[in-house]
Symmetry: C2
Subunit: 106 residues, 2 copies
Amino acid sequence: MGRMTAVLPHPERDEIRIEAVLHALADPVRLRIVRELAQSEEGMSCGVQLDLGISPSTLTHHVRTLREAGVVRVQPRGTSRISSLRRDDLDALYPGLLDGILAAPR
Amino acid sequence: MGRMTAVLPHPERDEIRIEAVLHALADPVRLRIVRELAQSEEGMSCGVQLDLGISPSTLTHHVRTLREAGVVRVQPRGTSRISSLRRDDLDALYPGLLDGILAAPR
């Protein structure tokens, strides 16, 4: 098994679409991931650091949905994948959106 | 055919859930309806005043999704149904969310 060095595709800022962002966020598990990432400056390995009670393949699906929508950036680090919130891009495109969602009582 | 006087069910403010709001907004037609309603203080009859290029039954489905999520309020007025954006509720629950979405270039 080699290192996971493949660079995963991410939409550029101007390729991010609001419908995809909203769809990505409209799920309790993905919203929880986003809330956790919002607390973490340097990003995290969701599979290692979050106890979401879901299978690795389900987690992979959710993180991919977030990545493809432009909500998170996923970067290989050794054998892990570190996810981080694309707050700069989202705040630039949709000022207030992320804060409004993170402020949600539920 | 009598007048459409039935009062449609709406979630109270504290029953509105962020996942349902985001799901309701994560659709191009519904987002367009919301953008139009955001311009209209007094609300509008979506079927009469918006040219969305969709069938009446599809429009009904979209407006119902928005209503059940707590994004719009639908009130009978004569034989019409007037939809209006629940901006007060959404701004109170998720400050910045709606403005961030409405500011989206696309």
